[in-house]
Symmetry: C2
Subunit: 506 residues, 2 copies
């Protein structure tokens, strides 16, 4: 038998030798029953002390990789013979030891025959199941290489007061260093829940005590938790069509049957709701992606429908903070005397999306189950961020930031609308009413293909995002979503001037 | 008609009046068809300008709460008549306006009759379903009022280098302020995944590239994601008995059938595994709660069983970092050539639990579905924490912290074992081998009731945590879990000295 073990440097020699021997055994290159050289011979061969090789053997014996037969030496244990064999594509770790016999085994395992061996093994059931989870829609992502990308779901981080935020985080760090082994409430840090409840009472006419607020990892987790505690496989969830793909995705991922319901100029068409719907997911403040608010009549009709059919309404108030014309219409939740509405909000559009903080105010009966679902799902959110955000809000920085950004986004929106109503009007028409939020939708009124327009625009370094991917069954409204969270007024002006020139050539 | 509207101060008078009128309409205290006073009369009555009341009416008209009939005045719209009525216990918001007629309505709604009305309404289906999610085990929590609480799952935050951590967080803040609108990878920040892969390769013989690592919101979310992408309702998940309640909880919450399998001195008893098990959840490094490692023979047998039965093994390596006797046995994952093991780890035992950072190295085929499940479940984790932790690890602070804490925890463990083997030996016996982790389990060998002993200890300001709640079907091993993450050697010595005295009296 020839045994190659490489030692490099003088650090942790025993560890180096241990790992190489162990890996050879686990890999099957040192087969069960193989007799090892004596610790004395191995030490001489490797140029290390006998104590080192003794240590290695002792550990391998203690762990069961080697067995010792009195008088005849030390052998590789048979135990490992039963280990399931290597998967194809599973790389061999950095190992440089092999006996002559084991070298052949290595070739056999790493070479051509392993493909056949693997092919013969059935693909594990979980692989097939998991693949179903890998599919799904994705929202358009901001492409920073473009001169002007109208992607939605992005805010202007350059104008976020990071100096103040840094102070809030550092204050939160001091609190965290003192908070010795404290239990964290899965529903979120109390101060943040208080700050959110005040904000909702003042800005959104949602009357909630701090205990009614559950802080989540973005609005998306609120949808996830609501679906978990209320839905069973096959339950019908009604969603707006066109609508918000990540909401559809999470309901579908949890086994619900997602049924699209058309929207018109007043929002969701209530009479088209499927009678079996257990949950209705809506965006009444600023319909995603078209942007119109739901009318009061529809709001009342929806609550009435929910009461009659025993449905839970999930109101995603995702883009309510910036209102540019008239006053903000107050949310469904503020009309909900009967406890039918789970209200969901987010800081992704007001601070920045990667903060990953959202919140919900569920019907009272769901509060404890939702907190428990969060506890067993992932425990709780980032304490540091929550504490910092509470201070940021309670000290008035959030309100100031909202006012500043309102001004800034309003300018961008004006530039965008001026182009849509002016030079771009032969091709595009803004969906109205569209008075809030960080994006506008515009319909393509010219007989052009949205995908082709988007491709051409891309060539001119303009990111346009067609409305088609937001549709399920409703006839596709050809057009684009114009997000203006991450592009300033000058960029918008330049890009839309180019776009008009470009559209003339199509 | 008498209409009471209160205005306080001079700020946002229109808003104050708007909200009170709107709330009265939504509440039904101003019934549909009620004629409102003229804006002129209302302005005079409230002592505000006519412009203010005109603004209020205009908004309420625009939103559809009021309707105007030419020549006959302004009326409450009928629309709201259809709003579902108040739920019992739903507090009326702060409103001070009512007509005489509406006042009666308020009484009727808020008074005794509302109970009957509410009682008549069926409890929503979601309430019953959600209740099932509110149940479940909970781990013992640290009670800071006790002189010495042996709760598990807590680390010594007082010894965490918060000064260095603060620098890492502040560096991360600078990165965040620069990272303009960047897409975040749901599997976690790349640098942290790199740091974890290096740590696992060096410390745990787990060969993983950074792409193989998925960062999670604590180990618990890793279990949640694994269960989501692989399990369907009714699937069998085998768990250790006694075992870790939060793992059982998450599998059960997602609809799996949780089947307990006994453990003995070598860990899980493989021949007792149910043949139908699709997933086997184990804690091989340090069985929870008993503390012994799984023997090599059992590890091989488990992998062989998983291969034969097509099961996925989830290895929770939750408490592997601190090893006090011998060397750490390397994890199942390092024996797994066939891609059967999803390896799960956490920083909760090494940094502090509220950091909420864990990770997993799944079989390759599950990586993309798991990342997608995270994306649609909650997007991603706290970027600030992940970036800071990556720096903390890559700059060697984590390794230094582990060495320091090893020393400190080792002292505590020695004191604990000295008491168990000495003065406490007539009553308690440490479960062996028990060579790692932040807790020890000790069996009650005297004929005493563990709950009674715990109650008596509590009277002496000592927190003892019986093993019983960790059992499902296996005969209860009477005894306690002794966590020493949050109690120093002096506290342990004093508490166990008192405990011996106390036990003499029982």
């Amino acid at each position: 038998m020839e045994l190659h073990v490489t030692v490099s440097g003088r650090r942790d020699l025993a560890g180096q030798i241990y790992r190489q021997l162990r890996d050879s055994i686990v890999d099957g290159r040192l087969a069960g029953g193989t007799r090892l050289p004596s610790t004395r011979d191995l030490a001489r061969q490797l140029g290390v002390s006998r104590k080192t090789t003794l240590d290695v053997f002792e550990r391998l014996l203690a762990e069961g990789y080697l067995i010792s037969r009195r008088g005849s030496g030390t052998f590789v244990a048979d135990t490992l013979e039963r280990l399931p064999a290597r998967e194809r594509g599973h790389e061999i770790p950095q190992i440089r030891a092999a006996t002559a016999a084991a070298a052949e085994t290595t070739d056999a395992v790493g070479g051509a025959s392993s493909g056949a061996a693997h092919g013969a093994r059935a693909t594990p059931w979980w692989q097939a199941r998991a693949q179903a989870h890998a599919a799904g829609d994705t929202l358009p992502r901001l492409d920073a290489r473009l001169a002007c990308d109208f992607a939605g779901g992005v805010t202007d981080k350059a104008r976020f007061p990071f100096d103040i935020w840094r102070r809030c985080i550092n204050d939160a760090l001091r609190v965290q260093a003192r908070g010795y082994g404290m239990y964290r409430e899965p529903a979120g840090e109390e101060k943040l829940r208080l700050a959110v409840s005040r904000y909702l009472a003042f800005n959104r006419a949602v009357q909630a005590n701090w205990e009614d607020v559950i802080v989540t990892q973005g609005a998306q987790q609120a949808l996830d938790l609501l679906a978990r505690v209320t839905l069973e496989r096959g339950d019908v969830v009604a969603v707006e069509d066109p609508g918000y793909p990540p909401a559809r995705d999470i309901f579908a991922a949890l086994g619900a049957k997602v049924v699209p319901v058309p929207v018109d100029g007043e929002g969701l068409v209530i009479e088209r709701l499927p009678k079996a719907a257990r949950v209705v997911y809506v965006t009444p403040s600023h319909q995603f992606p078209l942007g119109m608010p739901m009318s009061l009549g529809r709001r009342v009709a929806l609550l009435e429908w929910a009461q009659t059919h025993g449905a839970l309404v999930i109101e995603d108030d995702y883009d309510c903070e910036y209102r540019f014309e008239g006053r903000s219409m107050e949310p469904l939740k503020s009309l909900d005397n009967a406890g039918l509405v789970a209200y969901v909000g987010t800081f992704s559009k007001t601070i920045f999306p990667e903060l990953r903080v959202g919140y919900m105010v569920p019907p009272a009966a769901l509060a404890a189950p939702l907190a428990r679902a969060r506890q067993i799902g992932d425990g709780h959110g980032c304490v540091l961020t929550q504490t910092a955000l509470a201070n940021f809000m309670l000290n008035g920085h959030f309100a100031r930031h909202l006012r500043r950004m309102h001004q800034s986004y309003s300018e961008r929106r004006d530039v965008l609308l001026a182009h849509l109503r002016g030079p771009l009007s032969p091709w595009l028409e803004a969906v109205t009413p569209n008075t809030a939020g960080l994006h506008l939708a515009a319909r393509l009124v010219a007989p052009l293909d949205a995908a082709k327009v988007a491709a051409a625009a891309r060539g001119a370094s303009i990111g346009l995002h067609p409305l088609a991917p937001f549709h399920l069954e409703a006839p596709v409204q050809s057009g684009f979503l114009f997000g203006y969270g991450a592009v300033d007024a000058g960029q918008i002006d330049a890009a839309l001037t180019s776009l008009a020139t470009l559209l003339h050539t199509l």
